[in-house]
């Protein structure tokens, strides 16, 4: 399958995501420069983590104006798979492709540590190879990961099974202690209504090789590869 990793000025995890897809999962992977208008026929677009535009104004606020984002919007509208990780999630929120916003972590400090997340919905292109209720040990690294959305939108997300991942304890319990950044309903990752776009704060590319501390992140990429394969064979 062919994956595209978008590069904004200030993206940091672009190379990590590229390396993981290319070298760990052996997928054809290309970089997509933010000023270009060509998505190079990829099956899936990834918006990586980092500090695009230095987080000036708000995280992701400026990146959304990049020329490539117009192509991304069209790609997403037609059902293309899009994964936004950390800053990538923030860009998707600023683009309005996902509802809500990120506030500063409740402890008012940057947090870099392993956390556990629970798969809430396994019927998505990003979690298809996993089980509902399965917990994954994946690291976070962010200052603004406190997910917020108004009560109506929140109810909609829950009712439509758009909450895909939640912070949990290792046993899979959704607790306040597990909610390290204060997100509403322990939300760690959400999808759009159609389910082809996922935004998640934890970094699966940092948990795809065991010596890095965990390889639970593999499930996300394996699911995506499978989803792309199924889609291609349907054509």
């Amino acid at each position: 399958m062919k994956f595209g990793v978008v590069v904004f000025p200030g993206s940091n995890c672009d190379y990590d995501t590229y390396y993981t897809l290319k070298n760990v999962f052996r997928q054809e992977t290309v970089f997509l420069w933010h000023k270009d208008r060509d998505l190079q026929d990829v099956d899936c677009v990834l918006l990586p983590g980092g500090f695009s535009y230095g987080d000036y104004l708000r995280s992701g606020a400026i990146a959304r104006f990049s020329p490539l984002m117009r192509e991304l919007e069209a790609f997403a509208a037609s059902g293309g798979f899009v994964l936004g990780i950390c800053n990538g999630f923030q860009v998707l929120l600023e683009l309005g492709l996902l509802p809500g916003a990120m506030l500063r972590n409740k402890g008012l400090k940057f947090l870099c540590q392993f956390v556990h997340i629970r798969i809430e919905n396994e019927r998505t292109p990003f979690t298809g190879s996993g089980r509902k209720g399965q917990t994954l040990k994946i690291p976070i690294a962010h200052f603004d990961g406190n997910y917020f959305v108004d009560p109506e939108a929140l109810a909609e997300l829950e009712n439509n099974n758009q909450v895909i991942l939640r912070y949990s304890d290792p046993a899979g319990n959704i607790t306040e202690e597990a909610n390290i950044n204060g997100s509403l309903h322990n939300i760690a990752g959400i999808s759009n209504r159609k389910g082809n776009i996922l935004g998640m704060m934890p970094h699966p590319e940092r948990a795809s090789e065991s010596f890095l501390g965990s390889d639970d992140g593999r499930i996300i990429f394996e699911s995506m590869i499978q989803a792309c394969l199924s889609r291609r064979s349907e054509r």
Binding site: G10, F51, G54, Y56, F110, L111, F211, L212, G213, S214
Partner: protein, 735 residues
């Protein structure tokens, strides 16, 4: 012509001034004086330290570049090189903790990528005054936020470091930042303005008035007038630096440039003069072409500004356009501001007039080298006299008190603020003595560590210097790494005082001896003098940064116990040494005695043995004994183990119990092994003539030690964990 007041403001002595006049053949104008003020400052010229730094061993078969360039370069195989260095940013961090620390990170990063290396990891060594003082808490908060803010944003993981607390740092915090990068061995770039007629380009951020006289500030003690020094602190923009990094690496990768130097201390002045001097050429620039973000800046201000995120690049005329295209892609300025000339002068023009016209050599190379008087402090012998108090009856509260003391307590409050995983190279090992980084597309990796016990150095500078090297190497041995090269940051008080200069000389000689013994080249580093306020100097503080290599990253060990009922083996000998220990300091409030003995031969055998055991997969965990001695080391092995597995030790040594538990005898490492491997391990130890004793077993939920059959320590793991984990968050949440 220039009066004494002006000279004082520029930190130049009368005799230095007279020498300048003689060397340049005229009285300098104010801009030229400013240039000498910076370049002849202690920070830039190393005038007090040069004579001693010559004693460092700098040769080695893997050394590609030793001291003298922006960073040291060591060959690591597969056509790659490790580029690394440590720098201090002490004075700015006291004035403005966040920006002082942030720009310290920015500066060292530039030193690395200016050589053509992509930075892959940072570490920092931080020293603060006691946290009971609110100002020290606020400095710590600011410094840690600053390092995190800059490092995280630019995407270089801050993977390790150390934090120490002591009175002597109260008005003089130390912020030493280390950076490691990887380059292709055949693609290293140097700060040389070669090729007469080649163009000189200014790239990066615009120049403002920030940081003017930053270098001079770092070359003087602090007094009460601190607030006024705030404009001397530079302001950093990590996003700009990230763009700069990518653009620079791209033009280097495409071989479009001839030389490059970052504009750090002394900005445009230093970069132009040094690049010309290194190439034996002259340089001529026009300040009207320098991008400026303030109006009405004078030549003095432009030449002395320490605005961040700027580089000076030399390129052939034909390549200028391509260079500018790449910088433009990254939305950065790249302006031709001058050219390389024949001859040997630095010529600076502004508004059509020549404002600086002086020979390069005096600026860079002819600052007087001082052989300052050295004299051992009078009270040194007194401090060696140690009236050892009787040991406390109950050692349980002593251990808990040590674990809760800020120097030994859990540092997660700090490390969690740093993105230590970006670039997906960090091999996971909580509490590891050295951080292991994998090299992509290779089985091998690099290990990095920072170390330097300043209490030992205060009590006996030479021994302190020797131990600093030994201990850093020991850290590497615990993860199975072989040391390759050393960088060092030497932090001292006022060198014009004979006692301080004596400390410096002794430390340098101690470090040099140790490096020579272990066959380690020193590839560069930094000297920071004048860490002194109102006459109170910091403890002499050498911080050693060592880079090592492992052949297989899967063959490594961390400090945490891995499973129940594993034999615990202690390498080395337990001597009755309490002098200079954290125990003596924390429990008895004394900084006295002599530091522990260091036996290089024994140390080397133990390190070689430990490394080999790790490589052969003979051990489950390894942790070296340092501050707090055996009891604290073993407790850490429990606290860093994911399941918090306790231990029981049975010790027979015929020495005082408190010395046995908390003394800091050197060259000791604590291992845990599987039963099935124990015999092989002990056999190898015998062959390698390493003292190795089975001292107990892992298991249970208590930290338990028996001495000569009597239980002397019995602490529940949960209790130890709670005090250790909560100490820093508790103290800092009130700030």
């Amino acid at each position: 012509m220039i009066d004494k007041k002006t000279l004082d403001e520029h930190n130049l002595t009368q005799s230095e001034y007279e020498l300048i006049v003689k060397l340049i053949g005229k009285e300098p104008n104010i801009t030229e004086l400013g240039i000498f003020s910076l370049m002849w400052s202690e920070h830039c010229s190393y005038k007090s330290s040069k004579i001693h730094l010559k004693k460092f061993p700098v040769e080695g078969e893997h050394v590609i570049q030793g001291p003298g360039e922006n960073a040291g370069v060591i060959r690591i195989g597969d056509g790659l090189a490790a580029v690394f260095k440590i720098e201090s940013h002490n004075h700015p961090s006291f004035i403005e903790p966040y920006q002082g620390a942030a720009t310290g990170v920015g500066g060292i990063l530039r030193d690395i990528f200016t050589m053509g290396a992509r930075p892959i990891a940072s570490m920092d060594s931080l020293r603060f005054g006691p946290l009971s003082v609110p100002k020290n808490r606020s400095i710590m908060e600011g410094v840690v936020s600053g390092i995190a803010g800059y490092g995280n944003s630019i995407g270089v993981p801050t993977v390790a470091g150390e934090v120490y607390f002591d009175d002597s740092y109260s008005l003089n915090p130390l912020v030493n930042v280390f950076c490691l990068g990887i380059a292709r061995e055949d693609k290293i770039f140097y700060a040389k303005a070669e090729g007469v007629g080649n163009k000189v380009l200014y790239v990066g951020s615009k120049t403002g008035r920030d940081g003017i006289h930053g270098a001079t500030m770092a070359s003087a003690e602090f007094d009460e007038d601190l607030e006024r020094k705030r404009p001397n602190v530079q302001v950093g923009d990590p996003f700009k630096e990230k763009l700069l990094l990518e653009a620079c690496l791209e033009v280097m990768d495409k071989n479009l440039i001839v030389g490059i130097q970052d504009m750090g201390a002394a900005g445009l002045t230093c970069s132009t003069a040094e690049m010309a001097s290194n190439a034996g050429t002259g340089i001529s620039i026009d300040l009207d072409r320098v991008p400026q973000r303030e109006v009405g800046m004078t030549p003095y201000e432009i030449m002395l500004s320490e605005s961040q995120e700027r580089m000076l690049v030399v390129a052939e005329k034909e390549q200028v356009h391509s260079v500018q295209e790449i910088f433009s892609k990254w939305d950065l300025e790249a302006v031709v501001i001058g050219e390389v000339t024949g001859g040997d002068r630095l010529i600076v023009k502004a508004e059509g007039k020549t404002v600086v016209d002086i020979p390069v050599d005096p600026i860079v190379n002819l600052c007087p080298v001082y052989d300052r008087t050295t004299r051992a402090p009078e009270d040194l012998h007194a401090s060696h006299d140690l009236e050892i108090p009787p040991p406390p009856a109950d050692l349980n509260p002593v251990l808990l008190r040590l674990l809760a003391s800020p120097t030994l307590a859990d540092k997660e409050w700090v490390s969690r603020q740093y993105d230590h995983m970006v670039q997906v190279n960090t091999v996971f090992s909580p509490g590891a003595d050295a951080c292991l980084l994998r090299l992509k597309d290779s089985r091998g990796g690099l290990a990095v560590t920072l170390d330097g016990n300043s209490l030992y150095t205060y009590l006996d500078p030479r021994t302190g210097g020797r131990i600093a090297v030994a201990e850093a190497c020991r850290n590497l041995a615990c993860v199975g790494a072989k040391p390759l090269g050393v960088t060092n940051c030497l932090n001292f008080g006022n060198p014009e005082k004979p006692e301080i200069m004596w400390q410096f000389k002794e430390v340098v000689e101690g470090v040099a001896e140790a490096c020579r013994f272990f066959g380690l080249p020193i590839t560069g580093g930094n000297v920071s003098f004048y860490n002194e306020t109102e006459g109170v100097p910091v403890h002499p503080t050498p911080v050693l940064g060592i880079v090592g290599a492992v052949e297989d990253i899967e063959r490594t060990a961390g400090p945490g116990f891995r499973s129940q009922e594993n034999p615990i083996v202690l390498l080395g000998r337990n001597l009755e040494e309490i002098g200079g220990s954290e125990y003596l300091r924390v429990h008895f409030g004394q900084k006295a005695g002599r530091p522990p003995l260091i036996d290089f031969e024994l140390e080397k055998r133990i390190q070689d043995f430990c490394r080999e055991s790790v490589e052969k997969g003979l051990i489950l965990s390894a942790h070296d004994l340092a501050e707090g001695g055996l009891a604290v080391c073993a407790a850490e092995c429990t606290l860093y183990s994911p399941e918090k597995i306790g231990f029981t030790l049975e010790l027979e040594d015929d020495i005082r119990t408190d010395a046995l538990l908390f003394g800091e005898s050197q060259s000791r490492i604590l291992l845990s092994v599987e039963d099935s491997r124990l015999d092989s391990l002990m056999e190898l130890a015998r062959r390698m003539q390493v003292p190795a004793t089975v001292v107990g077993r892992t298991g249970g939920d208590r930290l338990s030690i028996h001495h000569r059959g009597v239980q002397v320590l019995d602490v529940p793991v949960e209790k130890a964990y709670t005090v250790w984990k909560n100490a820093l968050p508790e103290i800092l949440k009130n700030s």
